[in-house]
């Protein structure tokens, strides 16, 4: 376990050294959220928009910026390490697990990004306090935190696994982009999932893993789910977390066997 904490410390140091990346990510995220907040502020809308009030929708985007800083675990650099052969020196020739090494690096990044997430959300709160809706009971807090932890494992496992496709394809950016679309549509990043038309789309959003990467903690936060739906959500999310972890193991084993790299 000590070796993974060393990766955690290394991740912290790297994040502090390259502060610019985090700053620009923060600015980009804030820009995206600001746009959506202004869209809803200018909208001449009725009482309910997709099951949400105007204030709830604005709160949705303020919370989403904070949530994105906690659960956006996208270690796509793995595919680049496979492509360049860096994975040989960093993982294959060392007694470390790729999964946990990447996990600790991302944990370090997110330990710091959490602080920035607070600042960003605080800024939005300052300007939009009249629209912000916040009610948190102890039980709800626990459920939201559990849903966020589940989201981290689903999103992280999924991204690590698709990064491993670089063993066969070398270049996986195209697949990553397909992932972004699915997360945006079925994960509730662009709009709450209630905006999707009833039928195929809404059914798919419940079955596919993307809802459990972003929307599920939000739905609990906004009290849009009954107790049964929360239980069902945790069950499906847990199934995906386990399924993805198993898929990672299989992909890693098969990938390493077919791997060819060239020296520098």
């Amino acid at each position: 376990m000590r070796k993974y904490w060393a990766y955690f410390r290394l991740g912290l140091q790297t994040t502090f050294v390259y502060r610019g990346a985090m700053l620009f990510w923060l600015l980009g995220n804030m820009m995206a959220v600001t746009t959506m907040v202004f869209v809803w502020l200018s909208a001449d809308a009725g009482l309910l928009i997709g099951g949400y009030t105007k204030s709830e929708l604005i709160t949705y985007y303020i919370v989403s910026i904070f949530l994105a800083w906690i659960i956006a675990w996208y270690p796509f650099w793995i595919s680049n390490d496979i492509k360049t052969g860096a994975i040989i020196g960093q993982i294959l020739s060392k007694p470390v697990s790729l999964y946990w090494r990447a996990f600790m690096s991302d944990l370090a990044w997110h330990s710091i990004s959490l602080f920035f997430g607070f600042i960003a959300s605080g800024l939005f709160l300052f300007f939009l306090k009249n629209y912000f809706i916040f009610s948190m009971s102890f039980e709800k807090s626990i459920l939201v935190i559990l849903a966020m932890i589940l989201a981290i494992f689903v999103v992280f496992g999924f991204c690590v696994t698709i990064s491993l496709f670089a063993f066969w394809l070398t270049e996986t950016n195209g697949i990553n982009d397909v992932f972004w679309i699915l997360l945006t549509v079925f994960g509730g990043q662009a709009y709450p999932l209630t905006f999707l038309p009833k039928g195929v789309f809404s059914t798919l959003s419940t079955i596919l893993p993307f809802r459990y990467m972003f929307s599920f903690p939000m739905e609990i936060f906004f009290e849009k789910l009954s107790t049964v739906q929360i239980f069902q959500g945790f069950s499906v999310g847990l199934f995906w977390a386990i399924f993805i972890a198993a898929a990672y193991k299989i992909t890693w084993k098969k990938g390493v066997k077919v791997y060819n790299a060239w020296g520098h």
Partner: protein, 266 residues
């Protein structure tokens, strides 16, 4: 001058060919990119439907106006992703790895080489559906678009690309101080997304910030306004002024930043 232009043109063609060979070497990932980009186009159009189903009018823009705006934004994004974004988002590597040295030592403009080395082709196929959807939408407008408006549309679209490049290049010069900024794609990408919403959603000071200081209005809103008959030469003039201002600023920042470049050891 003519010889110099021809030399740069020749180099650009060689670089384009080189990038095309590189991209098509990985055919399956390239296919994924093409599919993903077509999906983004679909999603952007579909999100207009989703949005306007909930709210019939946003800041005076109707669903059809919104679709035209999104299609013009997609057209802009396709062109920008062909030759500007691929260079801007990897600029940090030149500083981080010290490879800007090689650009500075060559008998060619270092800024040109830093801005025109990479070209991406996976967005190009989506130009077909964009045009095929956009033209019938424009034909359904109550008034016919005149040749003058088409010309102004093209001029403002090109101006928007130049403004985006100048502004983007100004931002990436921050790499000289921060060294590694691998999140530029997020920032610039969200900047393009900002351009797919009517600038009228912003009011007062926020309009100044999100339309002009971050010049998102020039991405798609101004060209779309010309197509919708909401302005003509006044909008083109505004674009031309911003081309000049951002051009001067980005040139100044580039020279200023170069003075602070200290290379990197390998």
């Amino acid at each position: 001058m003519v010889n110099k232009t021809l030399k740069y043109l020749k180099i650009t063609i060689i670089l384009i060919k080189n990038c095309f060979s590189k991209e098509t070497a990985f055919r399956l990932p390239f296919l994924f990119w093409v599919i993903a980009n077509l999906f983004w186009l679909w999603f952007n159009l579909y999100s207009v439907e989703l949005l306007f189903k909930q709210v019939p009018v946003i800041a005076g823009w109707t669903v059809n106006d919104g679709k035209i705006l999104v299609l013009v934004n997609s057209l802009f994004s396709t062109l920008v992703w062909f030759f500007i974004m691929p260079n801007l988002i990897v600029f940090w590597k030149l500083i981080n790895q010290g490879t800007l040295d090689f650009h500075l030592l060559k008998p060619i403009s270092a800024r040109f080489l830093s801005s025109a080395t990479y070209f991406e082709f996976d967005m190009i196929p989506r130009l077909i559906p964009i045009i095929l959807i956009l033209l019938p939408l424009l034909n359904s407008l109550p008034k016919l678009i005149s040749l003058e408006e088409w010309t102004l549309f093209l001029l403002t679209l090109i101006s928007g690309i130049v403004i985006f490049y100048n502004f983007g290049f100004l931002i990436v010069t921050a790499c000289f101080w921060f060294t590694k900024i691998d999140s530029l794609e997020d920032l610039l990408g969200n900047g393009i997304t900002l351009g797919k919403y009517p600038s009228d959603i912003f009011t007062g000071f926020s309009k100044v910030v999100f339309s002009y200081i971050i010049p998102s209005i020039f991405i798609a809103v101004i060209p779309t306004m010309i197509l919708l008959g909401k302005g003509k030469w006044n909008l083109f003039l505004l674009s031309a002024v911003f081309v000049l201002i951002t051009g001067i600023l980005s040139h100044y920042f580039w020279n200023f930043s170069l003075k602070h470049y200290s290379s990197a050891s390998s």
